[in-house]
Subunit: 323 residues, 2 copies
Amino acid sequence: VAIGIDLGATNIKVALVDERGRVVRKAVRECTPTRGPDRVIADMAEACRCLLTDGGLSIDCVVGAGLGSPGPINLRKGMIIRSANLPGWQNVPIRDRLRSDLGLHVELDNDANAAAYGEYWAGSGYKESGGGGNLVLLTLGTGVGGGVVLGGQLLHGHFDNAAELGHLIVVADGLLCPCGQRGCLEQYASASAVARRTVEALSGGAGGGLAERVRLGSEITSMDVARAAAEGDELCGRIWREACLYLAIACVNIQHAYNPARIVLGGGLSEAGDALLSPVRDAFRRQTWSLMDDAPAIVLASLGYDAGVIGAAGLAWKAANQQ
Amino acid sequence: VAIGIDLGATNIKVALVDERGRVVRKAVRECTPTRGPDRVIADMAEACRCLLTDGGLSIDCVVGAGLGSPGPINLRKGMIIRSANLPGWQNVPIRDRLRSDLGLHVELDNDANAAAYGEYWAGSGYKESGGGGNLVLLTLGTGVGGGVVLGGQLLHGHFDNAAELGHLIVVADGLLCPCGQRGCLEQYASASAVARRTVEALSGGAGGGLAERVRLGSEITSMDVARAAAEGDELCGRIWREACLYLAIACVNIQHAYNPARIVLGGGLSEAGDALLSPVRDAFRRQTWSLMDDAPAIVLASLGYDAGVIGAAGLAWKAANQQ
């Protein structure tokens, strides 16, 4: 088996994954990044050892480990440069620390890239689809993350920062993003953005079925918006359609940029299922060109919250097989 | 030497290129695509043989040939599928025809890709810049073409149709493009679009220094617009600034998609030189994020009209060196 680790702001997920991408055993631990990298790295290693012990496996059965981490990351140095989700962490040489703690070869990549590799390597029906090695993942969660597999390899670019697809500009001079840009995809099509835009509109006096809940101060999620939109709520319908439209425009741009066989939609927003997929596909067909028949298949992620650990383990398998 | 061939709608360019990307000898022939593929392919081969004879070289001195062609192209089959610029050509197996006519190994790619490979392989200062193998070319001519080199390899994607960067959507619901999309980059930032938009505005009754020329029916080029904009003409200034703004937004999206070290601007519009480069760089700095310091260098193409033949020859050298 290979060990896959998915480091998040609130959880550390670990899994043992076999050569075909199947999860043999998995576990989740709380993560408290404020305790500092040393403690978190020790927790990660401990979680891996427990998983092996519980499975009755020794470390000799493990080909290596992979870690998906929030970023940005310096791949050559194996470092987390910093992260909005890991406050206080700066230039943490996490790959080498984990390597010496575990006594295993460790592959490091950012979380969205690891998940993209998971969907490519073990995602439902992908290998069978004849799609070759070209797949793009959009994770629609707190932000919008991106991962790009080309010819079976993750794309990193010159600054290790390729596939930051949440920051594709889809509206010139649009909504301000904390990144400093205006009109980023993630200001329209992340789960958080859909919820936030609804709350803002309702707080601004707009009517709608969720108005009462907002007035009482209860939290609204993107799923609430999706549900209200499906029930005919006008405001929620408008915000949902706009999210789908800008996702579709981003998919057209991804089509022309990378020409992938498949675009996979994951993260919180994708839990809406067909209520997301159908309007995105419709808008994509309306927005894309008629010149060539090179439209990617747009599908929902199939690995759910396991995509990160599976993909991280997949990177470990890849490294082991190349040795 | 390697032979580089650049097939265009009006010209066939051929060149002998040495291993370091220098043009040893070159020639241009008229191309009349309406005479059909057979005649044009025979002309191409004949032009190559003449070039060798004139240079006192035998075919044994040639490592191979590369051909940059209008597309779309089927790379596996070595075919031109069709082309707006080569009316009537359909599924032309140009690679194998040329191979048997010349008796040489032939590499085929589309024209923008070949030019991008040229700028990467032999462009001014690129290798020395430490940029590694990551470069994106935008050719701003009749349309906007794109070519992407990642890790020293041209990006093709699953359908051989990656890097169609002229069809990135930069304005949702924007100007209609013949490709069927709305708001494509090439509707704002190709040399033709800049000229056409100016003529349309002037024909619509707008004033400005070029109005008289349009009224008299003389042709307006993007260089005329650039010049008038520089001289303070309001209408031309607005159209020029808009071209630069949308180019900058495309550059931001290219930054986040591929994370290249360098974005190269070529084609007719780039002949404006600093009048293009400065406002594009300024707008890029205003539009891009402040989160990371991963901005690509934006520069003018350095190989001019030779980029295509040099790049095509570079692909032939690459193939020869891999054997």
